[in-house]
């Protein structure tokens, strides 16, 4: 059992090794290797989660012979394994469900590089979620940026190339700001490991020395990661990026990559700045305001969009707004709701992209006007789309309901922000219902023309497996929300206290 703590290291190293090996394997073998790797990583973090629950303590894992002010470290309690287990499963299902589209969208002979990029993204997710060192975070943020850009541009259309250059430029702006923030922190503390940084910042904050440097660096780090995550004024690369990528990439990019940055920001807030300093600095209010505007703007833009894939992408912008709004609300219930929403979004958004692509294939396009009656032609895809749309709206029994409920509860944690939060929640739910239901109703309106061919289950077996697994996860987490919420609560406490 003691050996379990080595698993994150092994998982990260295995991802890096597999990414190198995949480049020389035949394409089929590269695909199998990548799927197997995702499965293995999911199992490894499942085991680690079990270990974390049984030992009831966080682990600080020393990378090499040198302890913490000197060497690199990993840190994980119960929250990180939970998230990573879900992330790896989602990646597996995305690759499985989007497999047929990958074959169409990707040039023969270059498909293996897609799996290289996936493995690099997975390794960077592991490192971002587990690292105890901010500079390691920076390096893996860059890996994640380049690799996710690769996932996007591998579908070689003019639009995706343009979208990837915009995505890359905004990501680089974000990482530049983040790097400058780190440098300022290093200048006044001399540390890079999270526990030492946090101690030094606590002392400096109390003494009032270098106050302006600290404030600036808090702003820079937060803004940098928020730009990369896609917070409101920086969200406009999203529709192109997620909308034109191949569906598996769309799912991975919106469901996982941006969540990696956001979770890293959460760790930085909890373990570097400390919640007290962060919430006193006033940056949290900015996050709340931008998040709330982002929710509304994202929903409005989604409602005006006729291309369904772009509509889903805009809806991602609004979901990310929710997450940042939760960060701004309060360090207890607000962040709890945000973390739950990270899970919700990771499990709900990828099947939306996958099923939209599947429906678009039978309907002949992604414009919602073409989708008349398409739900009858491909029942499973229609069902998946509908269920996930209901989850996004927040119908009970789904995950979306739980996260909206948690956001509602979190609003009462911060008495000044009760009214705005509730208004934002209500408005965005109405808008969500409007634009998702419009598509769903169209899906099931019988078309007047002759019935086209139907897509049967066995013609799309990988997609069927992925879709059913996603739906099961969604309902499972939605029904059994109580233990998950307790788990997250516990994980957050571990994150904060085990410094």
């Amino acid at each position: 059992m003691e050996f379990t703590v080595n698993l994150p290291l092994f998982a990260a190293a295995l991802c890096l090794i597999c990414s190198a090996v995949s480049a020389v394997l035949p394409e089929k073998a590269a695909r199998r290797l990548c799927l197997a790797l995702c499965g293995l990583v999911a199992i490894a973090f499942g085991l680690l989660l079990a270990y974390g629950l049984s030992s009831d303590a966080a682990t600080t894992y020393r990378m090499g012979h040198y302890p913490h002010p000197w060497g690199n470290e990993l840190f994980f309690g119960t929250l990180e394994p939970l998230l990573l287990c879900v992330f790896a499963t989602v990646m597996l299902l995305c690759l499985l469900g989007g497999g047929s589209h990958l074959e169409n969208d990707l040039e023969q002979g270059k498909r293996r590089y897609y799996y290289v990029m996936c493995e690099l993204v997975l390794s960077s997710l592991i490192a971002l979620c587990c690292t105890n060192d901010v500079f390691t975070g920076y390096v893996f943020i860059e890996i994640s940026t380049v690799a996710s850009c690769g996932l996007l541009m591998i579908r070689q259309l003019g639009r995706t190339t343009l979208a990837s250059i915009r995505y890359l430029i905004f990501s680089l702006i974000g990482s530049g700001l983040f790097l400058l923030g780190l440098i300022l922190l290093y200048a006044v503390t001399g540390h890079l490991l999270m526990p030492d940084l946090s101690r030094a910042i606590g002392t400096l904050w109390e003494s009032g020395q270098y106050r302006s440097v600290l404030l600036t660096s808090i702003c820079l780090v937060t803004v940098g990661l928020a730009v990369k995550g896609g917070l409101f004024p920086f969200h406009f690369w999203m529709p192109d990026t997620y909308g034109y990528a191949t569906p598996a990439s769309g799912g991975i990019l919106s469901g996982l990559v941006s969540k990696g940055y956001i979770f890293f920001l959460l760790r930085v807030i909890f373990r570097v700045f400390g919640t007290e300093v962060f919430y006193k600095s006033g940056v949290s209010n900015v996050l709340f305001v931008l998040g709330a505007i982002g929710v509304i703007v994202g929903s409005v833009s989604a409602a005006r969009e006729t291309d369904v894939a772009r509509m889903i992408a805009y809806s991602s912008a609004s979901q990310i707004g929710y997450i940042f709004m939760g960060f701004g609300l309060s360090p207890q219930l607000g962040v709890l709701a945000s973390v739950f929403h990270i899970l919700t979004h990771a499990i709900t958004k990828p099947p939306l992209f996958l099923s939209a692509a599947q429906i678009a294939r039978i309907a002949g396009g992604r414009d919602r006007k073409l989708w008349l009656g398409a739900g009858h032609k491909n029942r499973l895809a229609g069902l998946t789309f509908t269920a996930c749309a209901l989850s996004m709206i927040g119908i009970p029994l789904t995950m979306g309901f739980v996260s909206k409920y948690r956001f509602g509860l979190a609003a009462f944690d911060n008495p000044k922000l009760i009214v705005p939060t509730l208004i934002v929640l209500a408005v965005s739910t109405i808008l969500n219902t409007w634009y998702f239901m419009r598509v769903v109703i169209r899906l099931y309106t019988p078309a007047s023309g002759p019935d086209g061919p139907r897509v049967r289950m066995r013609e799309q077996r990988p997609f069927a497996v992925a879709a059913i697994a996603f739906l099961c996860m969604n309902i499972g987490f939605g029904v059994a929300a109580k233990p998950v919420v307790t788990l997250i609560e516990h994980g957050l406490i571990l994150l904060k206290e085990a410094l």
């Binding site: 080595n6 090794i17 690769g150 006044v188 992604r366």
Partner: protein, 301 residues
């Protein structure tokens, strides 16, 4: 007659000259991908015009960015004035962390160059990530620029012309070996003095690029082919990951590693640092040459 004065030729590089906007997108050559991909789903919103909000945003954008830039300069300026003074010995950045790197660095890592000790032993996870950034980049460039069919050589008139240029050939045949030798020296003595895998690899890569300039792709095939490129860089990366996995694992569980610091300032010392420098050097040199080759010719070798 076309004027070919220096200034006239320089004008050729004006930024505006690159924007051939009088052409419409319709009659352009979609030579984006060598083989047209099977396309099932047409991208839906064909004549999607920018919404009013987007257009307003477009107009406001430069103003916003400029304001943002100014605000940023002012804020950062005020911030850095509060930073600890430059060059003082009692700055917060010089603390017990640095003291150990310098004080016991040689004894613990065997490297005389403290920077090499820091990046390849104390904080090796960062460096492991860093070489994979490079790997991700070369893979991305492969995706973008690799031409898979055997494109005719006529694509590249410049390379052939240069092949016959005697000045370049003679100069390169004298200089390039020296450059490559210096790069290798730099790579091998990274633990003893300034240099290391990355800078050495970059210098070797520059030497290879120079050779390729002078002798053209045909003769470069004797040194680097796609096969050698793949095998060398992937085995170096795998060696790097596996050896670091081993040393992290041993370190974390308090096991004894087979690598020892050795006698400092010997060439064969500093445990893993020398092999890692070589591995990084191999990756970097091949990657740099590969990047050049992909940019120039769309293939490696």
């Amino acid at each position: 007659m076309k004027k070919t004065g220096f200034l006239e030729r320089l004008r050729d590089w004006d930024a505006d000259r690159f924007d051939l906007t009088e052409k419409t997108a319709g009659d352009m050559h979609p030579d984006l991908s060598p083989k047209p991909l099977k396309q099932e789903i047409p991208d839906a919103p064909l004549e999607r015009l920018a919404t009013r909000g987007e257009r307003a945003f477009d107009r406001l954008y430069p103003v916003l960015a400029l304001v943002l830039g100014t605000v940023m300069i002012v804020f950062l300026f005020l911030t850095v004035l509060d930073l600890p003074p430059y060059g003082a010995a009692d700055n917060p950045a010089h603390n017990e962390v640095t003291a150990r790197y310098l004080g016991s660095g040689t004894a613990e890592t065997g490297a005389v160059n403290a920077v090499a000790g820091v990046i390849l032993d104390y904080r090796a996870f960062d460096t492991l990530g860093e070489s994979h950034v490079l790997y991700a980049a070369i893979t991305a460039v492969l995706i973008l620029l690799l031409v898979q069919s055997d494109a005719p050589e006529a694509d590249d008139p410049g390379a052939r012309l240069m092949e016959r240029d005697p000045i370049l050939t003679v100069t390169a045949s004298v200089i390039a070996p020296i450059v490559i030798l210096f790069g290798v020296y730099n790579m091998l003595t990274g633990h003893l003095g300034p240099g290391g895998g990355f800078s050495g690899g970059a210098i070797v890569g520059a030497g290879l690029i120079l050779l390729s300039f002078a002798f053209g792709p045909h003769r470069m095939k004797r040194i680097v082919t796609f096969r050698t490129f793949r095998i060398a860089s992937i085995s170096a990366l795998c060696f790097y990951s596996v050896s670091k996995l081993y040393s992290f694992f041993c370190g974390a569980n308090g096991l004894h590693t087979i690598f020892s610091p050795g006698t400092p300032s010997r060439i064969l010392s500093a445990g893993l640092i020398l092999p890692l420098n070589i591995a990084v050097g191999v990756v970097v040199s091949f990657t740099m040459y590969g990047l050049y080759s992909l940019f120039e010719r769309g293939r490696i070798g």
